[in-house]
Symmetry: C2
Subunit: 623 residues, 2 copies
Amino acid sequence: MYKGGYTGKILRIDLTEERYEIEALSPEMAINYIGGTGFAIKTLYDEVPENADALGPENKLIFAPGPFTGTSVPCASRMAVATKSPLTQAVGMSLSGGYFPAEMKFSGFDMMIIQGKAKHSTYLWISDNKVRFKKADKLWGSHTGDCQQMIKDDLGDQNIRIVCIGPAGENLCNFASIINERRAFGRKGVGTVMGSKNLKAIALRGSQAVPIASEEKLKVARGEMAKTMKNSDVLYPAFAKMGTPMVVDHLTDLGIFPLKNYSTTGEFDLSGKIGMAAQGPLTVGKAHCYNCPVGCTQLKVPKKGEYAGTLGEPEFETIYSLGGMTGVENADSIVAADRLCDELGIDTMSAGVTVAFVMELFEKGVLSESDLGGFSARFGDHQAMIKLIRMMAFREGFGDILADGVKKAAEKIGKESDQYAMHVKGLELPGYDIRGAKAHGLNYATAFTGADHCRGYAFQEIFGIPVPHAVDRFSAEGKGKLTVWNQDLRTATTDCPTMCGFLLDMALPGNALENTASLMEAVTGLMFTPEEVMKVGERINNVAKAFNMRQGLTKADDTLPKRLMEEPIKAGESKGHKISREELTQMLTEYYTERGWDSETGKPTRARLEALGLKNIADQMEI
Amino acid sequence: MYKGGYTGKILRIDLTEERYEIEALSPEMAINYIGGTGFAIKTLYDEVPENADALGPENKLIFAPGPFTGTSVPCASRMAVATKSPLTQAVGMSLSGGYFPAEMKFSGFDMMIIQGKAKHSTYLWISDNKVRFKKADKLWGSHTGDCQQMIKDDLGDQNIRIVCIGPAGENLCNFASIINERRAFGRKGVGTVMGSKNLKAIALRGSQAVPIASEEKLKVARGEMAKTMKNSDVLYPAFAKMGTPMVVDHLTDLGIFPLKNYSTTGEFDLSGKIGMAAQGPLTVGKAHCYNCPVGCTQLKVPKKGEYAGTLGEPEFETIYSLGGMTGVENADSIVAADRLCDELGIDTMSAGVTVAFVMELFEKGVLSESDLGGFSARFGDHQAMIKLIRMMAFREGFGDILADGVKKAAEKIGKESDQYAMHVKGLELPGYDIRGAKAHGLNYATAFTGADHCRGYAFQEIFGIPVPHAVDRFSAEGKGKLTVWNQDLRTATTDCPTMCGFLLDMALPGNALENTASLMEAVTGLMFTPEEVMKVGERINNVAKAFNMRQGLTKADDTLPKRLMEEPIKAGESKGHKISREELTQMLTEYYTERGWDSETGKPTRARLEALGLKNIADQMEI
């Protein structure tokens, strides 16, 4: 059926039974879901039942790279991890790049489904069709960097690629990450699920080449892609040199860099202290993912003071959460806290937003020093930030409440603290003040993973790219249609094949569908029209929606933090703007309609599901 | 001449000129100095002139593994680094194991002589007879673990072996170490010299097998050695399981585990809190050097509290310096501080002894909070300890004075603070209270590197091993002869071939000379009698003495801290004991006499030098 791109094999690992099976990848799966996110979401829907306990053995952890991963297609070593999120109870999916995704393909697998729960702490050692269940007692409790090194030393092979959890995942902090060398599958508690399964790490080593359907066609398609990348004004000239931290300055200019838990956005300029002017001098080098000519990761080392010597590589979202949100002006501390989060295996974004939540409650007098265990936590206090991060990772003291995330923490704290809990569906907010970027707002409200910048990122509002058309970031008009387009496009062209998301924003927005279609033909031999590629994206967004509905989520969950619907931004370039309840309703109605869903209930319709080949879902969901 | 063991090549690297040369190893060198320490000391004497500035381009940094390194002889991946010490102005030599020593042999070299000073920060990339001088700008400032990983990533080879310095070496802290994966060439500021040369790291990858003169003879000799190792009551049954931390408990039992800067030795029992009872539960695994069947390094991870998750592997001497000496009872903090020292590239021993010095001065009121920069530093304060370590590594604030080591710091602080500066020749004391182990005291007074437990460790006093005869640890009688024997034996049988020092203490003391001779014949084809092996040790101790004399050291430097000659141990199993000035003089006289040196001046005699084949030294030194 398919000639290349896929290994044709799915690895199913049962931790309870210490057993594994190798299953065949079906052609239908490849055609309808492409790979990566598509495979992962489809499997999640099929295999994780209604009301599954996110931290129980019935939840699954599904790793899936795409057909381009491990081939000569640049920027394609990326991978999805899907599970039911303990933080949102919805689809928990996170993507990460690096070398592990390519190594998984070299190991011979298109997907790895991990189920059950190990009886004792375990790590998996997988090489070329063999899985060994290894005791992880000695690794348990260790930092993620040390854990990886100890495994390499134990197995006597320094070329092994490893993903692992840190203490946060072991202690079931609800927003624990899975660390992948220096990168992270950061969000939605995928590391928490791994911890709940007593699985400390997965070590991979492969030796199989990924087959290619047509090397000739691939050369042409790759050449086109390289040309488009070179033509970008941003990708090589700026992004390769500065990476995502450059976004801090840009959002500050737009007046939508969130400050102090969204209480003071636009009121002062932190970019000089934590943006490029501060980040640049700390930068000591860069890092690439497998087969990436860009290399956006910026390695930073503070030179003086209490954080000197600690290497970190905070991305924009980390500088937002550990910097802007907390009001911390000490750039060194952000680098150090970023590293600490990676070593502890805790999501920098949820961690920072939760720290900011604590700081606002502390300043408002809702939380006291004695609540926290004997220290103060005002905005800007980097030492308090670092203490709180550790407390959450280890669930120590008040950290035990915070480790559930702001949504549940606010329920426990009470006293109207939910007013300050910045999340959607339980997922802490990313770093775009949506009051001045409304498609971002609608995307946060509707994305199947909660407030997620990675699902349908509205690059149009941020970089002024007129694709598919120019937009006014302050207007709610047309944002329903735009968000559907953004979500489906991103799912289909970056999260499935898989491909780096930054390419979509900075180089390929105008021809992502064509690029995906021609690379798919070259790599796999499967023929797609651009419209068919887009339909894969739509299909996956519908399957994910069905999964969420089955887990009890309703239209009421497609909402935004009260504060952002009530308080306008008080100063700066986005002064006076908010997303009113009416605007949100208007955008949601347009969104549901564009999706072919019922605009009253926000539920998919049978007609649309059937048009997408998802009759089985319509039947199962009794739609 | 020689058929095996050696590569026959010396690599000379000139950093000033960015040039390297490969020189032939002379047969005389192999016969007279065996390898390792022998090669390094001989080269140091020949090439580093009188009054060389330890931190100037005229100083050299000499790396030398031995003929057994990289062969199938177990426990032989060990290596000497020699230089003029900035801390002592004497021979600065440090040994370390791991994988780097073997890799150096695989790279084709018996010795690496690094001279000059790089114009900008540099690292060396050496593989199979080629040396590349690489820019280290991006590595400068980084922790040693990150530095190693960044080099591997940059060179695209995870199997490279690396030694590097951390911020302490860069900032010329006088007791900076050279880190070798997780191990250290810890003492005497060898890392400071590396920093002064703007050399951040040396990366090695080799592919050459070490030739063997007679595989058949080697099999026999190795079998004998393995048998002796197996017969040891301590090596596998205890040491392999507990490593050096077990010595804490043993020395506590003997009443010679130094407490609070030697002010309270024997007065309380800290072993329950920082010895095996505390260390055991933190242990998560062990690590081996290349081709070592024992694996004594104990990996430890604190499980709870502020240091949770941080992997460290404190050896006995680190637990002594960061624990006993500072009175710190928090075992977790010792693990974390050990790791911090390794990441910063600072010697745990000198660092801990210096912290203890500060703490005693603080308690005595000689130093105040404002002297330290706004914090208190009482005995037992682990947070102050960690702050001080960072301050010394970065030479920040008062750390700038402390970073010179206790000898020079006491000179600057004045106010009789030298009373509390525990060092010999500027090298901070190891963890044996010599008042209850007098051969240890004499060894500290006479060792060519200063107060060094590695030069002539008197295992007889600690483990009751009656080789060459039983001794009374409280007596000064016979300790001169014993110390000469210990120093020469250790130099010849462990530091030259090279071989792990613990084997000598725990398995081989009775037949170390025979073992070395038979392995030398098997590996290299060179024939030695046991007496000739011992003579190599003696020769090296004479060459090192000559080097020190030329740098201005005299008999007056062969002394001990005043406190240990004046204040007896106040309680415990060694209560009432001290080494009086008279006893020291008596031991020194016996020592000089045994060495065939002038007992009045403590200088070598022409007769003895000539008997050792060192007429050139007698001529040069005008003896």
